[in-house]
């Protein structure tokens, strides 16, 4: 066990920190889940890209630095510590890109990765449908073969597409074999949202931001080269991405430490006036949990660095961080007392935190996965 960083890693951290200190906007940007905020965020992401900080672990050819896993983690830690803006490109960079690296053709990688890294092309995820939320295998949107044109015609509807109204591209699953049941007969498509026959309608989230979209497909044509990973292979290709989605949290071990520290600052300000003497320990426990999260991430990264591949254990992480995030913000609300009725960063954060136990597989489903695949309990 060695919890220190090498001189080279320390040097990398110094470089990251210096650049972020000089460049992170002094004023927080407007929410990236509004049209205006999204545009402002893209300007920031462009600056990241130009300085080669947008995808540090990627090959240089696509705008990266070929950073090691540990350097990548250092970058993410510093990024959170600096309070730098939320990454509105995350669905592309963290969900689609790993799939492209694993399943994409060289042509697809050359075509899509660099514009994704620069934010020139922005990606949203087309998984859910009105009748296929938790039950992802219930997808009914179809892709019908058009041999003559050498491609597919998409029909159906996707929904709860995060930032769908602002993105340029969508990746998603469509049923190519209408006879196949459930998770068979699905194919993974890459779809430019300006394709004729595609209509996007944004709608609001709990906190009022237009962060969701419905996407309608009315015989929208996509050529064969927009299939990722083989016709009919959509489910296994997508599951690789879903793994990344649940593992998104790998992004930064320091992710909740920053919130726990802000919570401690709020306590310093408000604690004496709060009615609940137990809040003191709630704040302490938030810090303990945030440290536990950070350390568990280091443990996972060690295993990955030594060649293991993360499996169903990512469900443990998803449940823990999403419920920790809710507790962190709930403690803040209780510290705010009557002021928790006002709009503000903590009440916004509270509403956002409530999505954590729902998205990317509800926590109920994650707990089933833990029970069945980590503990080995009987399915039925």
């Amino acid at each position: 066990m060695d919890l220190t960083w090498s001189p080279a890693e320390e040097a990398f951290r110094v470089e990251v920190r210096a650049w972020l200190e000089a460049n992170v906007p002094a004023e927080p940007l407007p929410s990236g889940d509004t049209r205006e905020g999204f545009a402002r965020h893209l300007e920031w992401e462009r600056r990241l890209f130009d300085a080669r900080w947008s995808v540090v672990s990627w090959p240089e050819a696509y705008g990266g630095r070929e950073a090691s896993l540990w350097e990548w983690l250092i970058f993410e830690e510093e990024y959170y510590r600096a309070g730098a803006p939320q990454r509105v490109t995350q669905n592309g960079i963290f969900l689609l890109a790993p799939t492209l690296f694993e399943f994409g053709t060289p042509a697809q990688q050359d075509r899509f990765l660099r514009p994704m890294a620069s934010g020139e092309e922005t990606w949203c995820q087309g998984w859910s449908e009105p009748d296929a939320g938790s039950d992802l295998a219930g997808i009914s949107s179809r892709a019908v073969r058009d041999d003559e044109a050498g491609g597919w015609r998409l029909r159906g509807q996707k929904t709860w597409t995060t930032r769908g109204a602002f993105c340029t591209h969508l990746f998603g699953l469509f049923r190519t074999d209408p006879e196949a049941q459930r998770h068979r007969g699905l194919t993974y498509f890459l779809v430019p949202l300006d394709t004729p026959g595609v209509t996007v309608r944004g709608f609001g989230r709990l906190d009022g931001d237009e962060g969701f979209a419905e996407v309608f497909f009315d015989d929208a044509f996509v050529p064969d080269e927009m299939v990722l990973g083989g016709v009919g292979e959509g489910w296994s290709v997508a599951m690789a991405t879903t793994g990344s989605e649940r593992g998104l949290t790998l992004r930064s071990p320091g992710r909740f430490l920053a919130t726990a520290e802000r919570l401690a600052a709020l306590y310093a300000e408000r604690g004496a006036g709060a009615s609940d003497p137990g809040l003191r320990h709630a704040v302490a426990q938030a810090r303990i949990d945030a440290e536990a999260y950070a350390l568990q991430t280091l443990s996972t990264v060690t295993r990955i660095a030594e060649g293991e591949r993360p499996g169903a254990e990512s469900s443990l992480t998803k449940v823990f961080w999403s419920e920790l995030d809710v507790r962190l913000h709930d403690t803040a609300r209780r510290l705010l007392g009557p002021d928790s009725a006002l709009d503000g960063p903590w009440t916004k954060g509270w509403q956002f935190a409530l999505s954590g136990p729902i998205y990317a597989g509800t926590n109920e489903i994650q707990r089933n996965v833990i029970a069945e695949r980590v503990l080995g309990l009987p399915r039925k």
Partner: protein, 317 residues
Amino acid sequence: MRFAFTDDQLAFRDAVRDLLTRECPPGVVRAAWSNADGRSGGAWKALGEMGALGVMVAEEHGGLGLTELDAVLLAEEAGRAALPDPFVEHTLAGAPLVATEEAASGAVTVTAASGRDLVPWADSADVLVVGGVVVERGTAAVDPRPAVDGARRLAAVEVAGAPPLRTLDPTERDLTADRLALGYAAQLVGLAARMLDTTVAYVSERRQFGVPIGSFQALKHHLADSRIALEFAAPLVYRAAYSLAHRDPDAPVHVSMAKAQASDAAELVARHALQCHGAIGYSDEHDLHMWMKRAWALAAAGGDASWHRERVARAIL
């Protein structure tokens, strides 16, 4: 010994429920999020006409001369409908103090706030009960603040320069604060019951994996816990109403028990309701969020659960 409401009280409750079902469907609540004053308009007028707004105003001033025990079920209904009007602030707290025919009928809207609370619907009310005085709204400085619940408009109110219509004595101030807390507790019970009903209906219908999602044990248990929380909150609220109506010296502690329990119950029911709805409930196009945000607002208003738990602790420890 009889721990139940009278048939008259239940009939009045039913009448208000029917009225609000008609006059305050979710569309009215939604409209209040973006209209000028966050108010219902029609529902308020209809409630005034049926006498519900003057239930605690003395008969000689045109009210019904009844008590908190008669008003508590009506507040619960106002909660169930997420009525975008200062029903509790007016009916339980303000109108009995103002004690005029206009207040009894709701032609004049009275709002009120206690403690560190901002004042709800201050900019559309006619009379404000704030900081121990009753003032005309026009004479006070009203400074709106952005609220999470877009219909329940909040404002900071400065009454220093306003000529008081009357000044409350300490007993009246305390009683008014307790009436607000009681009324909010009752509204929270109504809000929670509505969220639970809506969620039960939703999970019974919504199908995933080939079955209604309400057949999954995890969701069953979320909703069973919600039902239990309600079952053991409502009686405390009704007892607090009884104690206030009978000027029981323990009434303030009873109010605190009620408000603490109802606040926690409504928060819990809201959490489970959202989780059971999933992404559909997370959209602002679904009605759930309006009920949830009202529940959050009222859980924090009139003293939150911890404030009231502390008052219980002081009484028993």
